[in-house]
Symmetry: C2
Subunit: 337 residues, 2 copies
DNA sequence: CATTTCACCGAAAGCGCTTTCGATAAATTT
DNA sequence: AAATTTATCGAAAGCGCTTTCGGTGAAATG
């Protein structure tokens, strides 16, 4: 591999000139530049990123943090899709993603500390709750940052239009004739969950539909299992809902399972609409009607926002809301007469 | 944040002593060590990782490469589960993962080049095919490496016992009375796909079952859509199979969809067993019988293998095969009389 | 021809850290 | 008391790169 010194020795120029040639400075002649570039290619020379970072104070890395709140890490299809699209967008600009932990050679440290240590150029945080003090610490720091799927006025945020999403779902159900519409919600500590609840409530209110006791039920942290349990308690209600809007596809799948296990049919007996449009939702039976979040756009937009902050060297606080779509499939149908 | 110089100035010691104190050298008294550590904590000092790497030639980073073969990236639940478990294991030892691309500030480069540039301590490659020259280049390099889900004699590899997996599936079907057993295979360029085919063939042979024309069909790169298509051509066969072993859960889900769309029932008309045991497989209808790969163990073992090479500074070539389990659920049943 | 401009190159400092090796003073041995 | 060991510290070099600033000769200008 060799260093810049080797390259200087081989070509007979100084390391200064070599460096300049490689970095396209204007004060090196085309002829010597060609020689140096050629020699570099011949010996397979590659600049050492650490040396570069040390010298330029620019690491071309972006730290990514997943909240550990609900132990899903990068396994959750939704966050996963976002990070994938984020990755594509950033790598195109020359950035590498680094997943840092809170462990530095057995020294326990915060994410901020770890990111400072790694000298990342920017941070993206995904899948978080407001209460997480690690996230707050990151937001209060001076490193460029963008957070996804959470609301905050102290930094750039991008998330789906969860309010409209909730409304969309409820209205769809209403148009199918449903009046007894329940909501299996995400935990209230999660902004997204909260907004969907709000959307549900507003829509119900606008439609002059009361929300019977027990119809708004906490489904926790969006897992299949929790969705199933929530649905079971919903089924045990004296006045069973004819439709349920579930705040996440995985929960919705759990809910459908509970319904089936109770000997009922979706959508014949109960309609269900999910949220996210994860890949699986179009392959479960029945195919899930759901509110699609535009993960592609969210990830890409987050990337743009972050990189803009990095290159302009100034933090920016914007909140961008990405529209959602209702995808009607087979899990919703007209209410039974 | 400050540098080691600031810390030296504050405490009155030389940077040498400060560095030693922070790194637990024995030739610094307990008293001064305490002072320095305290001062470091007070000013929130954190060593710059790039400077450290430059000096020690150790970056405490591991490069991860996903093959781009089938465009799934980190979205595939199986690879995703592996990388997650790998991450946990490595971060516990103080390593950070870095996802590098082939783009370095608009200069196209190979993964190896990128990893050299970043000076990673080791590499893990996931989800690959033998033909990928990027992977081959990595394997031939001198950087410690471990590859997952692929076979090779030139480096450490760890993958599932796909041969047994195929056999397990076929035998299970046989015991249920099936004799017309088809196989929707993964592409033959993928080692895992190939081994499962082999397992299928061997099992059929041992059971003295012929493999009718068209019963061994290529399902491509494990996507739902490809599985569906493969199943459709299987259904069009003059002599339809009563059971099908599918080389991946996503393909199996596609296959079941094709079956349902043809107006048939799983497992009543056709039994299907998948491969992987992705999370969703226990939530589709009917719940999928499948061969479970122990992603937890694969990831963890890969991590151990890699770290061992890193600390011992020598490459090692082992091939470790992780056992699989047959998980019987509802997509398989006795053959129709 | 003298002067100014311009194109091209290199010395040197600096980025923040580690590590070798020598220096000093205190403690221990003879 | 002299010689030796031990404990503690720091100077300096080095890791591989960027960037400022000045220097040189050739070309352009008067």
């Amino acid at each position: 591999m060799g260093t810049i010194y080797d390259l200087a020795k081989i070509t007979g120029f100084s390391i200064t000139t070599v460096s300049k040639a490689l970095n396209n400075y204007s004060d090196v002649s085309e002829k010597t530049k060609a020689k140096i570039v050629q020699a570099a290619a011949d010996m397979g020379y590659l600049p050492n990123a650490h040396a570069q970072s040390l010298s330029t104070k620019r690491s071309w890395t972006i730290g990514v943090m997943f909240s550990e709140a609900n132990e899903v890490g990068m396994m959750h299809p939704f966050f996963n899709a976002i990070i994938e699209s984020f990755r594509k967008a950033t790598e195109q600009q020359g950035y590498d993603l680094i997943f840092a932990s809170r462990n530095l050679r057995n020294r326990d440290m915060s994410y901020l500390e770890h990111f400072q240590h790694r000298a990342v150029d920017g941070i993206v945080v995904i899948c978080s709750d407001q209460m997480d003090k690690h996230v707050q610490e990151l937001i209060q720091s001076s490193i460029p940052i963008v957070v996804v799927d959470m609301d905050s006025t102290d930094c750039s945020v991008v998330f789906s239009d969860n309010l409209s999403g909730g409304t969309l779902a409820v209205n769809h159900l209403y148009e199918l004739g449903h009046r007894l519409i329940a909501h299996i919600a995400g935990d209230m500590t999660i902004d997204a969950g909260l907004a969907r609840i709000e959307g549900y409530k507003q829509a119900m209110d606008r439609l002059a539909l009361p929300i019977p006791d027990g119809y708004l039920i906490n489904g926790g942290f969006f897992s299949v299992e929790e969705g199933k349990q929530a649905m079971q308690t919903l089924l045990a209600l004296p006045k069973r809902p004819t439709a349920v809007f579930v705040a996440g596809d995985q929960m919705a799948i759990g809910a459908m399972e509970a319904i089936h296990e109770a000997g009922l049919q979706v959508p014949h007996d109960i309609s269900v609409v999910g949220y996210d449009d994860i890949e699986m939702s179009k392959y479960v039976t029945p195919k899930l009607t759901t509110v699609r979040q535009d993960t592609e756009r969210i990830g890409q937009h987050a990337a743009e926002l972050l990189i803009e902050q990095i290159v302009n060297k100034r933090r920016v606080m914007t909140t961008d809301i990405i529209p959602v779509d209702l995808i009607v499939r087979q899990s919703t149908g007209p209410v039974k007469p």
